[in-house]
Symmetry: C2
Subunit: 531 residues, 2 copies
């Protein structure tokens, strides 16, 4: 590596469950910064003069926690920019520790209970094995502890990392530095996909802060001489494009799904040529789902691929379409038929942008929040079910859900199909009604109702129906063209092959892909939407 990385303006503190890789990530970050990492568990063992397991045996967990709290608070009080601290998995149980974390950049290394269990049971030269982990002897207790601690980690986290490949933590420092310069309350998600990793920043006021310059230049791999070219639509450009100070040029297409076409893509490509943009520059997709898909596709193909930063301004885009790298345009005959997988270089999410969104647009976008909450279950579903308003925390939770799915399956080979919950029927409704009668989100809402009927989950269907009504979203289709919808479904199914049928849902958080459903059932579920 050529020289050391520039340090974030706050100390970096790693938290997370046992097995998440805190020591390894701390070592890699520290190495990139040219400092020594501070590992609270190891420091504590030095201070005690014996292992943590022995301390549990000799004096019990409570005595250990007191020592752990004292040491953690000392470390945190003394830490400044450039420091890297790995905190013992249980440290966050202490309210004093949680308070002491506030001035620092807290990175939550998120690992699911199953993978954590596998890791701690397989001891390695770098990390203590199960024998050294007093809390890793019983699988059920381990899983319960994982869930309980997870809530505390989320509470203190500024950044959320998935399990990283060995040697890749140093590459996240640019994003951490950007986070340390972002408006207060901004959160970082590190997104991981087979074709590459990228940072997602979510925070109010981020659009102006990022647009103004310094923050945008902190990304890893960002070439200082690269220029920004902004693609937007006419509505969004009027509202926000002046926030992107450093842009070389821009183009605004006509708003609406009917303009997600090859003709619009050609307008963008030719504007890129006119402005002399090269693949060393950066395309900024500023707008909703249509702009993100279109500009992402143009970036994927201009000079055989240039970086794109997604800056979603609609709710659909902020909770769903800006993540995961699916880009494309529509053909007259078929939606999204020309496109590419092209992961963004970064995603910049400013929830304040939602304030200018038309009410009907916001409601339609909320249908994707509902879909995501049904897939995720847990705390996100609880908030959605009790009617909470969309805020940055809810956007963050939706983004984490989607990114978790994409990390496991970037190219739609299996798990990613779970994201189609409600969309199979939803798309058919859109197609059968010529894409003009319903917004995408409205069709998805109707699709969710049909899917829950097919899932034989009438209680949840009634609850979802109420939630849709509360947002002013349609729950019936007067004069629904049932046969046309069934035909569109059949065509879609043929396209996808017989092996990609419905996503069903037995309960929030328990979606199942690849479910075969008899056509008569589908027809009944669609007919029921006629009200």
């Amino acid at each position: 590596m050529a020289g050391l990385a520039q340090a974030p303006s706050r100390a970096v503190v790693l938290v997370g469950f046992m097995g998440a890789g805190k020591s390894t990530v701390a070592a890699e970050l520290a190495e990139a910064l040219g400092v020594a990492p501070l590992d609270s568990d190891r420091l504590l063992e030095q201070r005690l003069g014996h292992s943590i397991a022995e301390e549990f045996t000799l004096h019990g967990e409570a005595a250990f926690r007191a020592e752990e709290e004292r040491l953690a608070c000392e470390l945190l009080a003394g830490a400044g920019p450039g420091a890297v601290i790995a905190l013992g998995g249980g440290s966050v149980l202490s309210e004093r520790v949680r308070e002491a974390l506030a001035p620092h950049l807290v990175v939550f290394l998120d690992i699911d209970a199953e993978r954590a269990w596998e890791r701690v049971r397989a001891s390695s030269p770098d990390s203590p094995g199960a024998a050294e982990r007093p809390l890793a002897s019983d699988r059920q207790a381990f899983t319960a502890l994982h869930a309980e601690r997870g809530r505390l980690y989320e509470q203190v986290a500024d950044a959320y990392y998935p399990p990283l490949d060995r040697g890749s933590a140093g590459g996240t420092l640019g994003a951490l530095r950007a986070l340390s310069m972002a408006p207060p309350g901004t959160r970082l998600l590190w997104a991981s996909a087979a074709s590459g990793d990228y940072p997602v920043l979510i925070g109010r006021g981020l659009l102006s802060a990022w647009g103004a310059g310094e923050l945008g230049e902190a990304w890893p791999g960002q070439v200082p001489t690269s220029r920004r070219f902004c693609v937007s639509d006419e509505n969004v450009a009027g509202l926000y494009s002046d926030r992107l100070a450093r842009q070389a040029a821009s183009v605004a297409i006509a708003p609406g799904e009917e303009h997600k076409t090859l003709a619009s893509a050609e307008t963008v490509w030719r504007a890129l040529v006119s402005a002399g943009i090269t693949r060393a520059d950066q395309l900024v997709a500023l707008g909703g789902g249509v702009v993100g898909d279109l500009a992402g596709f143009c970036a994927a193909t201009y000079q055989r691929g240039m970086p794109v930063v997604q800056v979603p301004t609609s709710l659909v885009a902020q909770v769903d379409s800006a993540y995961g790298g699916k880009t494309g345009v529509d053909l007259p005959e078929a939606k999204n038929y020309v496109g590419a997988y092209h992961q963004p270089a970064a995603v910049i999410v400013d929830p304040d942008a939602l304030a200018t969104l038309p009410k009907a647009e916001l409601a339609a976008g909320w249908a994707e929040v509902l879909k995501t909450a049904l897939i995720a279950g847990g705390a996100l579903w609880d908030r959605v079910a009790r009617g909470d308003e969309v805020d940055e925390r809810m956007i963050l939770a939706c983004a984490r859900t989607k990114l978790g799915v994409v990390a496991a399956d970037e190219r739609d080979a299996g798990l990613r199909q779970v994201l189609n919950l409600g969309h199979t029927v939803g798309h058919a409704i859109e197609t059968a009604s010529g894409y003009s009668r319903y917004r995408h989100g409205e069709a998805v809402g109707l699709g969710l109702l049909a899917t829950l009927r097919l899932s034989d989950n009438n209680g949840l269907r009634a609850q979802v129906r109420e939630l849709l009504l509360e947002r002013g979203l349609p729950v019936t289709m007067a004069g629904a063209p049932v046969e046309a919808i069934i035909e569109a479904l059949e065509r879609d199914k043929k396209r996808l092959g017989a092996s990609v049928p419905f996503v069903l849902l037995s309960a929030p958080g328990s979606a199942r892909i690849g479910c075969e459903v008899p056509l008569t059932g589908v027809r009944a579920a669609v007919a029921e939407l006629q009200g």
Copy 2:
């Protein structure tokens, strides 16, 4: 793995230099076929009762070679379909062994001298180290031996493999089976790139054999239910499209570079939709460079990516553009500005197709042969320099040269720029003359002359000039628009960034990328083309 692979209809025999991985590849192929591999070196040591190194010491190399020949001939005489034999590196020195190889499928594991040296000097548990290799003590002798043996391996080879990743040899069995079913004289190149590997078959009569069915179905990963959709141009379609028996549908675009446009791409995409093609099907690009680029791009983007089989029918395409995965279309302002990297699923090259090519087209294509020979040097350059006609061996040599470069650098980050030899000036000539005055190959020929002047290699320039004249290719541009060409060069250089300047050539086989050249020199070299 689900079951065993179907065996090629001939025994597979691996030849290659020490360190090429013959034993490993043999073991992997044999495992996939459910047989035991036969390793001639190990069998010989068993027969001798001591190691080969000891045999050298005790009885000398001549005695060893006699034993080696006897054993190799025995093994080869007894081998039938399903057998996998790894032959000692020096076995091919024997003419009797070379003759005994004829009925078998001979796979040459090609490794460069440097990598081979590194491997044999680093002993590993699987392969004997330097101490066990009597011929690997002196670096210079090793390199000379590598060159000498290389000619023999090439002489006997039916298939050419680059160094394979561990565990990937089994994946080549489908291609070997296809090769065993192909017309006599067909050769297989295994192409390797960061984004994936694929087979290249080169042989006379291959188009009909592949088109007819069984051969085309032998590919690894080929789904029996997948359908073929053929993209061609109106000239080529008339000549050859009836050879592709199993095709579901086809579309032919108007011929010529001026039709490598988004409008043509849209024609193809919509024809794919009309025919109900899905990403589980296969697109066949049947034609020259324009069809390959255009159809490859359509395949890269249809439903976010479907497989494409390149079936090049022009000389430019057979020696150059069908390999390496660069696809795209032109914008009115700029050539190849919209595209993608998309490696083919296979390349099927039938040199007989060149018979129908117009003479001027063939000559222009030959300029790419000349360029490739200048990059490669060695035997290919010798043949081109003495005026040999293009045949399947020359096409094979060009393909090997290009694939070797792409394997090291798929996405143009460095080495791949070597392929631009003569193209920097060539493109500028095309642009400055509105793409109408010269064929691409003609402009490349002129570009090579300018490049050799810049390389200060006047002897080679004179030789290349004679070669171009012999093929009826232009060596001067009457009234060349020197300033317009310089302007186009400057624009191109700006696009590529200051760090991607000329490829120069000190001698055949010795191209250097990234050479800075003063503008006055470029102007003089271009002005000289005025004659």
